[in-house]
Symmetry: C2
Subunit: 234 residues, 2 copies
């Protein structure tokens, strides 16, 4: 076999993987903006920003489809092994997680219009705090992926416990508001879903962190998800 040809093949495969990785990073950047913007929309009751989040989520869906096509082609034509195989699987899975985060951001944006009809809430502040933490966690896992940083991945996994704690205390706070004043029940249930969606974004961020761990170490990234639905205890 011609060595030049082999080198060419190897180089080209590396390039394909790099391009895949760049696409995932670009998708991550867009999703990060959507999560940040949907929170701004809810905080400011900004319907136009909410509409823009809903609109931009279509781009995220398209990006996932493009990445999927490229991954299937890589599997079929290149038969990646070892590290390359892990990287290809991780890119596929991360794009899937990002697509779900985009969906959740869209769902949060949609609640903005319902909230618009009701008066602003004190609880908005707790949701804002939870939201900021979720956005910074997403930023951290995307950095972990781009820079191949195990430390950032592990730090993001730890943040998930903090997010779950805030969610639990927010859940109790919302119940208290509802019990004290029946007029807050309808907007509170909306906020409950906003908080639940943020908590789920935290879970997806953690899944991404686990995949970065898997790419970098080769160890299984799946952990016991028994803590992934904290409000069941509330």
């Amino acid at each position: 076999m011609n060595t030049n040809f082999q080198t060419h093949t190897v180089k080209s495969f590396g390039e394909e993987l790099d391009r895949l990785s760049d696409d995932v990073a670009r998708m991550g950047g867009l999703v990060e903006t959507l999560v940040s913007d949907c929170l701004q929309a809810v905080m400011r009751r900004d319907g136009d920003l909410a509409d823009s989040v809903i609109e931009r989520d279509r781009q995220v869906d398209q990006m996932e489809r493009d990445i999927e096509k490229r991954v299937i082609r890589l599997f079929a034509l290149r038969q990646p092994m070892a590290t390359d195989l892990r990287m290809t699987i991780a890119a596929y899975r991360i794009s899937h997680e990002l697509e779900r985060i985009g969906d959740l951001a869209k769902n949060i944006a949609r609640r903005c219009r319902v909230l618009n009809e009701s008066e602003p809430h004190e609880m908005t502040r707790s949701v804002d705090r939870m939201g900021r933490l979720v956005v910074s966690q997403l930023h951290e896992v995307l950095n972990a992926f781009s820079a191949g940083s195990l430390d950032d991945a592990h730090s993001a996994m730890k943040t998930d416990d903090e997010i779950d704690e805030i969610y639990n205390s927010l859940f109790r706070e919302l119940l208290t508001y509802m019990m004290e004043d029946a007029r807050t029940i309808s907007p509170s249930t909306q906020m409950l879903f906003v908080a639940k969606n943020l908590e789920r974004i935290g879970d997806h961020n953690t899944n991404i962190a686990e995949m970065v761990h898997y790419v970098l170490t080769g160890e299984d990234w799946r952990r016991d998800r028994s803590m992934s639905d904290p409000d069941r205890e509330s």
Copy 2:
């Protein structure tokens, strides 16, 4: 090339696809039992049954991992084309949807213990009705997959609108209970999450139906998911 060898290869690939399809069907059967059992657990406040659902969900997770390994091997070694490619992708995606349905059944089962602490609810009946419809929809899509029935797949997609309607009316019903009697707020929010999880199972069932459509027709199965979060309007 030896014809016998070729026949053997083709036959063996067909066998591998059949085995993959059988595994997905078996996984579907287990997940269907979990959804049905988690509902029974909530209806009868049966903590033991709830625990058994949580325990059996581990099997579902293991099944997904096994299917994933087989799919990756098929991609790498067999480079499936056309119908076989569609079938392989669909098996992968369906196992992923089933894993998520198993998770949601587990989440519903977990709420059983919290509900146990509060008195039974009238609203249980509406949740029961919604649950039965979701179970029958899942049964229908699994049949559609096993029998390759486009009619069953389309019928399951239509059921999703009915599930969304029940969810919307249930959401309003729960709000009314909460406003009328503050003591119902805590169990009602638990039931709200049970209903929301059922609605999400309906969405995953619909995703499976869309993939059956894709396998059978080759047309893209992705639809506009703008209706997938109906409670935003409530």
